[in-house]
Point group: C2
Chain length 431, copies 2
């Protein structure tokens, strides 16, 4: 399936009208930004860029799509001809995937003809809004876990395709693995998982189930110990697998207490190297509450794939400048009260003092000041419709994960607090 119809109808009707008025090829700058962070969040993580660049490259109208548009009279014949020849020929620059962002950070800038650029609005926002929501939530959980590894296992709580994107975004946000096999194949993310309660219930006894699992996966496997009685299951697990048992998983109960009891029990049984992984409806707050408990790793489902309360970032895609009749850029902006926009091209830099971020500084107009201000945030992502290969595929995903780690290391300590607050640094305009 091409990505071309993953698009709001009004993008095509606007193009139809612009072709009619002769404005469709007018050079434009569109900008992606978020007016605000989700309530109380101190920063966001940009994610989706690598996936997006691929999807833009595949954005084509084939015969099947054109026939459907024709039959449904969505646009006129000249516009159908234009769509048949569509391929994006413009340029895209913006924040690196994995970069930290703040209110009004110019996350992505698309430069091209009006029609070829406006048509990408829905796709661009779909990808960036969901992936950034997940990566931003994941990043908070990573801080809360304080160095202990996290696995994403929320596929069942997200749309089946969104789940693959969520696994990728969580990995960029600092998670270490995913349960989702397609995310392993598509993006090179380590996959994990051993067994569910159904496997225990399938067998006539817990012991039979544990023996079957150890026979198939070896003693290094993770045994799920809360189908019936945790204490009895931990005894049984060590009896079956020996003290070399890899890990036990606990998916229910009062975790801070239970984890301590299971650790003590494992130690008494001599399974001092056996790890404990917990997976019971965790989020950044319950992860933080387990800091003092002897948990070795976390599995996180619903909360990470749904952005922990904020399943969509607030990013919008706005026309900020167009060429006038004298071929000069003219800044344009919407003026309606609550949703006003800042027109014109922007050059963003992360201002730093002794390596710590102090402001998101956005230069309007003349960008020369930005070059001397902290760290430059705008990189070229696509030129003439061709994506920079470095940002694609598994390598691009790994690069984005490293980018997030570096960007987070520059943040003031307050940025990593889980409590509600203001953005960690102010957004400042300079001109």
């Amino acid at each position: 399936m091409t990505s071309a119809l993953l698009t709001d109808r009004y993008e095509l009707t606007m193009i139809d009208a612009a072709i009619g008025s002769g404005h469709h090829d007018l050079q434009c700058l569109f900008e992606v930004f978020a007016r605000r962070l989700p309530d109380g969040r101190r920063y966001g993580i940009v994610a989706g860029t690598g996936r997006l660049l691929d999807l833009i490259a595949q954005f084509r109208f084939e015969d099947a799509e054109l026939s459907w548009l024709r039959e449904n009279r969505v646009v006129s014949d000249p516009t159908l001809d234009w769509l048949a020849n569509y391929r994006f020929s413009g340029s895209i620059s913006g924040y690196s995937e994995g970069e930290v962002y703040f209110p009004n950070s110019p996350i992505l800038t698309v430069e091209g003809g009006f029609a070829e650029s406006v048509i990408l609005e829905t796709l661009i926002l779909s990808v960036l809004n969901y992936d950034s929501a997940v990566a931003s939530a994941a990043s908070r959980m990573v801080s809360a876990a304080d160095g202990r590894p996290l696995a994403e296992m929320g596929s069942r709580r997200a749309n089946e395709s969104a789940a693959v994107a969520a696994a990728r975004a969580a990995f960029i946000g600092g998670f270490n693995a995913t349960s989702n096999l397609e995310a392993g194949r598509s993006w090179g993310i380590p996959t994990m998982g051993t067994a569910a309660h159904a496997f225990t219930l399938l067998h006539s006894s817990e012991e039979e189930a544990f023996r079957a699992q150890v026979a198939a996966m070896g003693t290094g496997t993770t045994l799920l110990v809360d189908t019936y009685d945790v204490e009895a299951a931990v005894d049984l697990a060590v009896k079956v697998a020996g003290t070399g048992l890899g890990a036990v998983r606990i998916d229910s109960g009062d975790l801070p207490v239970l984890v301590r009891e299971v650790r003590d029990q494992l130690d008494r049984l001599g399974a001092t190297k056996t790890k404990i992984t917990v997976t019971n409806d965790l989020n950044e707050y319950t992860i933080a509450a387990l800091r003092a408990a002897p948990v070795d790793s976390y599995g996180v489902g619903t909360s990470v794939v749904t952005g922990s309360g904020f399943p969509a970032a607030n990013m919008v895609y706005k026309l900020v400048a167009r060429r006038d009749s004298a071929d000069q850029w003219v800044a344009v902006a919407k003026k309606s009260t609550a949703k006003a926009t800042v027109g014109g091209e922007k050059t963003p830099a992360r201002s730093l003092e002794r390596g710590v971020a102090t402001a998101e500084t956005i230069y309007l107009g003349d960008p020369s000041g930005a070059a001397e201000e902290g760290r430059q945030l705008r990189v070229s992502l696509m030129v003439g419709g061709v994506a920079d290969e470095r940002f694609l595929g598994a390598a691009g995903t790994a690069l984005a994960r490293a980018t997030r780690e570096r960007a987070i290391s520059e943040m003031p300590v307050d940025a990593l607090r889980l409590s509600n607050g203001e953005p960690a640094i102010p957004t400042v305009y300079r001109s």
Copy 2:
């Protein structure tokens, strides 16, 4: 792409171990249910079933998937052979798509061999959890709109593939149209949309933009009137399109006040038939707050595609029975405190008094009582791996929308209140 890798790794490792222990073909019953509704919700709407039946039919491991699993040593060779021959051969029954559900309603029952059934867990839950979350939220908005039409336009706030599913689920929940073109093509949902602020900003004046749009789409179009000044734009819209202008769209501002002013202005200008559509971050509460305002239709984005605060239903997929060595069904159940399950096959009925629902009655064991109790809720969806055609495609989607409407009409009035409360009817077990 096949749907086979949209799966958690542990489904495959369980199959690997079950093949090892000879339990993989043991006949099993798995059940989908939700232990609870989202906080304060009074009912849920089942959605996703029609999409799911198609995805199960496509669930195959091709060479590419098998190679990847082999290279990554996810499972052993005998299991790879088993996967290569996989196709689901069991039966699925459950609630009709569009049906109302409550805590512990047995929404779907999958009967088949352990391995062929457990492998579908992630896919089944991904589809049902997201689609039902959207349909449930949509249904509340439809009640709030009190007969006025709603359009789903949230594609940009959902993963690009999830957006298509969301449009379909919102339609099943009672919405009338979507902005998403792929949802129009795949599921026969009416599509809508005319222009964004970018179209106005592209032109050197609002008048030029309005003239271009009316030239392309006719006077029956919808003009967006809040790019600069609403009052001036409404005057201009009627000047350009005449009093036959189809509609104006307002996307910002204090809607209850603004809508009234615009209605009065349109009437004064003689555009008494011109409709007003509003699209500013609406949810069920803001829609309800506009009941007294002269709004003709609503466009809803973020809140509907993110389930209005609950982006995933709480459905789980649990083994509830298996055949024993004497080929009798044995109920099985997890016993861990907070997540205990009720084992055995269930036969659900909606108990009714004078056509109004009074209970969700679930018969355990002997189902003969259910046949005389209200309305039967379990229908056959798939037999021997073959889906019932009536539930697929655009026709199945339309049927689901009608099913929801009928099921809602049976609900007690309290069910439609937006305020937080208990499930509208109790779930009662009988045996």
